[in-house]
């Protein structure tokens, strides 16, 4: 579904990613792990079009997307969340999630809107309902009218997930969702991710902590200082000496 081929990214003289390959198969949870500064978030930003690669190609369903601007990437069905949550703090949770409907809100163009045509009103109601549905899916519907700025960290992550889902994506890039969550919140997150996959949406999970990854992911990639050093099922990765040295070695 998503093919990243020999991607490299330079910042000034510094090479953040070097000849990285990555394949995400439809309907799975693919995890991308690695120590801090391994370049995980860089890769996510490349895929989601925040900046273009120095070398290599990214293709999504056989379509080159490595020169797309972010909003185009979102329109073709790749949603994302942020490592440091980026909610629209001036809006309520529901409004935040409704923004997510933007890629498929085809009727909300300027003139129909200012003329207040029925189709626009209808669409607005659809969006509203769909957003509520997503909030239910993530089990945070009770927060709908709370100003997003006032939410605790953990719930902000969940709302971000709901917002990403509302774009009706085929693939979601989840960037370090477990960072700074307590066990309970992590549990909720795990439930949420599971229920997302059950709706047939593919997930690329970028994670720093092994625990969550080992529990839910089908396929794991390991990134270290800009190079892809291994990939395989969680079990294989757990045994892989390279990984233990490069990654867990740092942990313990």
């Amino acid at each position: 579904m998503l093919n990243v081929e020999e991607i490299s990214k330079d910042f000034g003289g510094l090479r953040a990613l070097h000849q990285v390959d990555l394949v995400v198969r439809a309907g799975t949870i693919t995890a991308l792990i690695g120590p801090n500064g391994a370049g995980k978030t860089t890769l996510i930003n490349l895929i989601s079009g925040v900046y273009g690669p120095s070398e290599g190609t990214i293709s999504f369903e056989e379509k080159r997307i490595d020169r797309f601007p972010p909003h185009k990437v979102a329109e073709i069905g790749i949603a994302r969340t942020f490592q440091l949550t980026k909610l629209f703090e001036g809006m309520s949770v529901l409004e935040n999630v409704m923004v997510g409907a933007h890629p498929w809100a085809r009727n909300s163009r300027f003139f129909p809107t200012v003329l207040h045509l029925p189709k626009v009103r209808r669409e607005r109601n659809d969006i509203c309902e769909y957003a509520m549905k997503m909030l239910k899916l993530i089990r945070v519907e009770h927060l709908a009218n709370v100003p997003a700025g006032n939410l605790p960290h953990g719930q902000q992550r969940l709302v971000e997930l709901a917002r990403a889902l509302t774009t009706k994506p085929k693939l979601i890039l989840v960037d370090e969702p477990a960072a700074g969550l307590n066990l309970h919140e992590e549990g909720m997150l795990q439930e949420a991710l599971k229920s997302i996959v059950d709706t047939g949406i593919t997930i690329l999970l970028v994670e720093h902590h092994m625990r969550l990854v080992m529990r839910i992911s089908h396929w794991v990639y390991v990134l270290d200082v800009g190079k892809m050093i291994a990939h395989g099922t969680p079990e294989e990765i757990g045994k892989n000496p390279l990984v233990v040295k490069a990654y867990l070695g740092k942990e313990y």
Partner: protein, 310 residues
């Protein structure tokens, strides 16, 4: 949600209805004030879309105001075109100008954008001041009164003309604010990166807001010129930019009613202070200061907050 829209409409139409019968009851001076309020409100509404919702900075409204005021006047005076033809042309011109200026200006952020827009306004202002043969220069020029069915239109006509345009502008801004577009604009205001990740084309929406702002300001300008009967460049100098900003900020940026209330307050204030004219400027400053300091979301914002909390 729908029911809320319905209720808003009822209120809106009550207000408009009262405004519509006003001429029967009050004297010219009050109508004159209401006309000014209407014009400034149209301008502030547009600015609100760009600043209050899209979160950008524009201190150049007077540029569009100036274009909107001068082009119909010149077309009428020099070429003898009818106002109703010249009016839309000026709106279209400022659409084009706005489109052209959007390329340099919308790439800027924050304070650079502020000075960029100021530069735009000043350039337009000087353009109209320094070519006396066409525009009458610093002495200004008489605006030919509009004739319809070969009779000249009076204050009452302009009152209703402005009322109609105000209603239209208000509805446009209201629908924009309460639509998916409104959400997109606020998303751009709050966090551009996240907005883009949600499929919002940032530049497109910035430009949209900028153009709405510009065209509304230009329309306000055309109306202003007609009802004033005389214009000169000083009316469109820097102080006007500041005045409209003040109106927006006093009323409450990012609220539907803010611009209207702000326009009303800042227009009526000088007339309440007519006995102490030399303090007008000071008063404006103090009002702005007090609002910024103690009512972060302006008068309207504060009122609605009060309602939510109780």
């Amino acid at each position: 949600m729908v029911s809320r829209v319905k209720r808003d409409f009822i209120v809106l139409f009550v207000v408009l209805g009262m405004a519509a019968v006003l001429p029967l009851m009050v004297r010219e001076i009050y109508l004159y004030l209401v006309r000014l309020i209407g014009i400034y409100a149209i301008m502030a509404l547009g600015l609100n879309i760009f600043m209050g919702y899209c979160g950008q900075v524009n201190i150049g409204v007077a540029g569009f105001f100036c274009i909107g005021a001068y082009i119909p006047t010149v077309l009428q005076g020099k070429l003898g075109w009818h106002y109703l033809i010249a009016f839309p042309i000026s709106a279209f011109v400022s659409l084009l100008v706005g489109w052209g200026m959007s390329w340099p200006l919308l790439r800027l952020r924050g304070h650079s954008m502020a000075i960029g827009t100021i530069a735009f306004a000043m350039a337009v202002y000087l353009l109209f001041e320094r070519f006396p043969t066409i525009t009458g220069g610093s002495d200004g020029t008489v605006v030919p009164a509009m004739t319809l069915f070969d009779q000249t239109m009076g204050n009452i006509f302009y009152y209703y003309l402005i009322l109609v345009f105000f209603a239209v502008a208000f509805l446009i801004c209201y629908f924009l604010a309460n639509s998916q577009i409104g959400l997109a604009l606020r998303a751009v205001r709050d966090n551009e990166e996240a907005a883009a990740a949600m499929g919002v084309d940032i530049n497109h929406y910035k430009r949209l807001a900028w153009l709405v702002n510009g065209v509304l300001a230009s329309i306000a300008g055309s109306l202003y010129a007609q009802q004033a009967g005389f214009i000169n460049p000083d009316t469109f100098a820097l102080s006007t930019n500041v005045l409209v900003l003040v109106m927006l900020c006093v009323g409450g940026p990012g609220t539907i009613l803010g611009p209207v209330v702000g326009a009303a307050i800042m227009t009526i204030l000088p007339y309440l202070l007519v006995k102490i004219q030399q303090y007008t400027l000071l008063m404006q400053g103090l009002v702005l200061f007090a609002v910024l300091r103690f009512l972060p979301d302006g008068v309207v914002g504060a009122i609605s907050k009060r309602f939510r909390s109780t």
